[in-house]
Amino acid sequence: MTRQWKLLDYALASLLRRKGKNLSILVIYTLTVATLASVLFLTQSLRQEATKVLSGGPDLVVQRLMAGRHELVPLNYADPIRKLPGVKSVQPRVWGYYYDSLKKVNLTLMGLPAEPEILVLLEGERPSKGQEIAVGRGIADTYGFGVGDSLLLIDAAGEKQLYRITGLFETGSDLLTNDLILFPEAELRRFFAMPTNRATDLAVSVYNPREVATLAQKVRYHLPDSRPIGKTEILHTYDTVFHWRSGMLLTVSLAALIAFCILAWDKATGISADERREIGILKAVGWDTTDVLALKFWEGLAVSLVAFLLGTILAWTHTYVFGAGLLAPVIQGWSVLFPDFDLTPSVDLYQLFILGMLTVTPYIACTVIPSWKAAITDPDSVMRS
């Protein structure tokens, strides 16, 4: 152990002696790790947000399709579903999207009640009558509103409607609260000019989540024009979308990683005459090949670990402090139409470990392997230099 500590100490001093070369490698290495880690952090956080949204959502959402398009669901579609064994409740939901051209954001307008258990009022109270709304934290931040303020929206008839904010709510997920406005159901129907015997979709709760797929089949059997969507299907879709996008980015970043490896290899293999001479001297004064290789290993480990840590911290800062400004448009996709929101920090340690293995290991190999040749040099050559 003492020997290894001393070799590590010598390795660090050795790195400092070649500041220029090692600093340039460290900077490039750090940026490469930061890019890759940013993609991982952002993807993981978005998946985490999606999971949180769905955890509070219904087990099954039933939509109606007409000519392959999403249509409003007649309220009486709930009756045959309620009769299915295993169904706990069926709740018609009234909701829709609203584009605010002034703020250039997409908002989700939803009629109460809508999974009230996942919505926690931070301030004020739920809207109970016409011209009253409750908003998510993201909207309050985007518009600079608070409880008691008013929000102007244009209804389906093109009329301006002024709504008073009675409450501010929050959930565990920013994805949900960020763009959501809650209306009394009757008021929202009037706003969207939606018939009273129809709903946007039906939220179905079941006793046993394992039976969702079977129940979905039964719903489709009884209501052939329906489209039942299970919670896991939605999660799978989120996963696919985010993984596809992050995969694309990682593929592009991989090119950067390969370029870095080539650079590292080039730097490492280009052992200068001074470095060769130093290895020869070390061997002549009693170091053996394993000592020299251990020295090179510590040098490689020190550079790669520092770069990995700096890169990870940089990625964390970029993703969670600066909102992943450089990558969000690519991975979120719809972010340009969505109010800004803070990502909940979420790190998959396994992914981080894999990233570490993919960046630290090749660099150490790039450092140690080329030194092998110099390390097996006969110390006798130093006598003749």
Partner: protein, 225 residues
């Protein structure tokens, strides 16, 4: 009396079977006793450095054997050979071979770095040799900031830090003026007094004829003359 080092019919050939093959040593046999001071003499290219390398376990002979205290070291694996080298020999190279960007202390401590000797013991030994070679005030300077004579003292201090039984010096006065050469020989005399076996290679008459020398071994064209 059992010799400390036994060289038994050693030959050394470089670039074997190549057009530029060089036979550096031919069937050299030599016994070196403990505490003895030996100088290898001969013109340039006579094989002095090659023989020093073999004695100091820095190279392996093409044929023949080298024994250290009756133990054959010729066929030892590289790792053990390095250990033998570290524990028994100190080297002073013709060009000093110091790491110019390291401090005097760091250079001196190089042979002890890959050992399990505690850091405190290393510091004590460094202080001891620094004082002995009057380098204490130079301890934190980079080697490139030192004069030639000081660099040579650092090289000798480094060679002695592991308390070797044998000090090997190749052309130790090659880069020194007469005064510095005299100082060096005085230093070597004190080492001899302490019981260190000295093996030098030189073609400098000042060294060859110095009273310190017990034995002169003449080499010519890779063979003992």
């Amino acid at each position: 009396m059992t010799p400390l080092i036994q060289i038994d019919q050693v030959s050394q050939t470089f670039n074997r079977h190549q057009p530029d093959e060089v036979q550096a040593l031919r069937d050299v046999s030599l016994d070196l006793q403990t505490g003895e001071t030996t100088v290898l003499t001969g013109p340039s290219g006579s094989g002095k450095t090659s023989l020093l390398s073999l004695i100091g376990c820095m190279a392996r002979p093409t044929s023949g054997r080298v024994h250290l205290e009756q133990r054959e070291v010729t066929r030892l694996p590289e790792r053990f050979l390095a250990e033998v080298r570290r524990e028994n020999f100190g080297f002073v190279f013709q060009q000093f071979n110091l790491l110019r960007d390291l401090t005097v202390t760091d250079n001196i401590l190089l042979p002890l770095t890959p050992t399990s000797l505690p850091a405190r013991e290393m510091r004590n030994r460094a202080e001891e040799v620094l004082e002995r070679f009057d380098l204490t005030r130079r301890a934190t300077l980079k080697v490139r900031q030192l004069s030639g004579g000081e660099q040579q003292r650092v090289a000798i201090a480094r060679a002695l830090i592991n308390r070797p039984r044998v000090l090997i010096a190749d052309e130790p006065t090659a880069h020194l003026d007469h005064a510095l050469a005299e100082g060096l020989m005085e230093l070597l005399s004190s080492l001899k007094t302490d019981g260190t076996t000295l093996i030098l290679a030189s073609h400098d008459p000042f060294v060859i004829d110095h009273p310190l020398i017990d034995r002169r071994v003449q080499l010519h064209d890779g063979a003992l003359a």
